[in-house]
Amino acid sequence: MSEVSAVLAPGTGWLLLAIFGLAWIALGVFWGRKAKDFEGFMLAGRNVGLALGAATAMATWVTSNTVMLAPKFALQMGVWGMLAYSTASFGLFLFAPMARRIRRLMPRGFTSGDFIRLRFGRPAWAVFLLISFVYSMAWLVSMGMAGGIVLEALSGIDYRFGMSVILLVCVVYTLFGGLYAVIGTDFIQSLIILAGIVAVGAVVLSRIDLAAIHGNLAAEQPMLLSVLMPVALLSLFNNMFFGFGEVFHNNVWWSRAFAMKEAVAHKAFGLAGLLWFPIPIAAGFIGLCAGPLGINVPDPDMVGPLVAGQVLGGAGAIVMFVVVFCSLASSIDSLLAATADLLTEDVYRKWLAPASDPARLRRVSSWLIVGLGALTWALCMPRLGDLIQVLFLSGPLVASAIWPVVGGLFWRKASGPAALAAMLAGSAAGLTAYFTLGWFTASLISAAVSAAVMALGTVMSKARFDWSALDESAAAGGGSR
């Protein structure tokens, strides 16, 4: 880690943290003034246009993992490693038609939990909420830890301080601005991430010829150029199904579908997929440059910043620092907002206090944002490396929710018992595969078992779901809450 920290002084790191942290907070407070009521705070008035909609979906999906792990995948699995990471964009593509259907079936819906409760009943809802909360916390903690580790590696800022500042900044601007702040900052962060990755890639290519990279790989690691590298191919499909599960079930994406104008929701997700697809390749290929440039890589997780720092010097390290900060902030703010929404709507309003008025729900949501930030901070503080594994462990859990969500949206015969059995059986099979066969099989097996159970349950079902039951505003006489 110290090899890169030598490139960027801690003072420079603190200055960048201060500039961008204060900018996000100021913009969050400014945009947050638009949130006049609970629905505005939670769903940005349900009127988000194409540009902001596409940018927020893309930026949320670009995490620090995208920037840091794509070069590692390239380093370890070559060309297919980069492509494997890019397949995560397919989740956004496939969510596009689902977003359109969600907006039509649930014009006044709030969360993914609302859908599962109304579609499949309370037992499936409880399991779904548990899966969703475990995954969201794992994602939040992995982002918090990654932030502290990467900032320390790039600039020498102590892990505890870097991690704390990132979480604090995201909590403050999400608290003041709700989804308006999240979506507004996501747009700026999208542009910074794209510009930073293109700038680093272009300069690296100006310093080293692509033919030299290819020649070095062909001589030293020919498997990295092979189109039939078994582990890479398995990881490609596993990554793809993990991505499907993450996007299809999580309230981060459902809340965006509810927040966008009905006519643009599907276009925004499709465009976000297109924008996202090249990013792991553009960010990842510099991992292939380590060998030809003769750069020693003691920690594969750091190969991206290491190459950028060596090739571009201080400027490269600054760009990587800013790109990583934006990637972290754009995901953490979305997770804080969407998970607080899920707990406010599904646990507090629908379970604990159904008579709550919007003002009270707004206060509860704010406290939950603070609470989630504090819980994430407390879990990140001990810097337990094993916690990162929880994110990978959640892969089979979320993959088990793919078919219940798809079936619930499109198949009238899909039933609650089938969805519940599919999630339980898929999760159990996937977790077993994780520990016995390897991480690169877990999501695949979970999705396959869940699909079989869901298909069998649906074929045997005599249920005929009435789609209008998903529109709670119609059931309540057409009035919004």
């Binding site: 540009a51 542009l191 794209l194 890639g201 692509l210 924008l275 290929f285």
Partner: protein
């Protein structure tokens, strides 16, 4: 140029060009949304 060289070149240059174009596209879409008052 071998097949794998071509694949690598297409992937890398294509990804960088697509990322740059994506950023510009977002700016154009934002300008259109602002012009038509449908930003949010």
């Amino acid at each position: 140029m071998t097949f794998s060289q071509t694949v690598l070149a297409v992937l890398v240059y294509g990804a960088l060009a697509a990322s740059a174009a994506g950023g510009l596209l977002l700016l154009v879409l934002l300008a259109l949304d602002v012009k038509n008052e449908r930003i949010w």
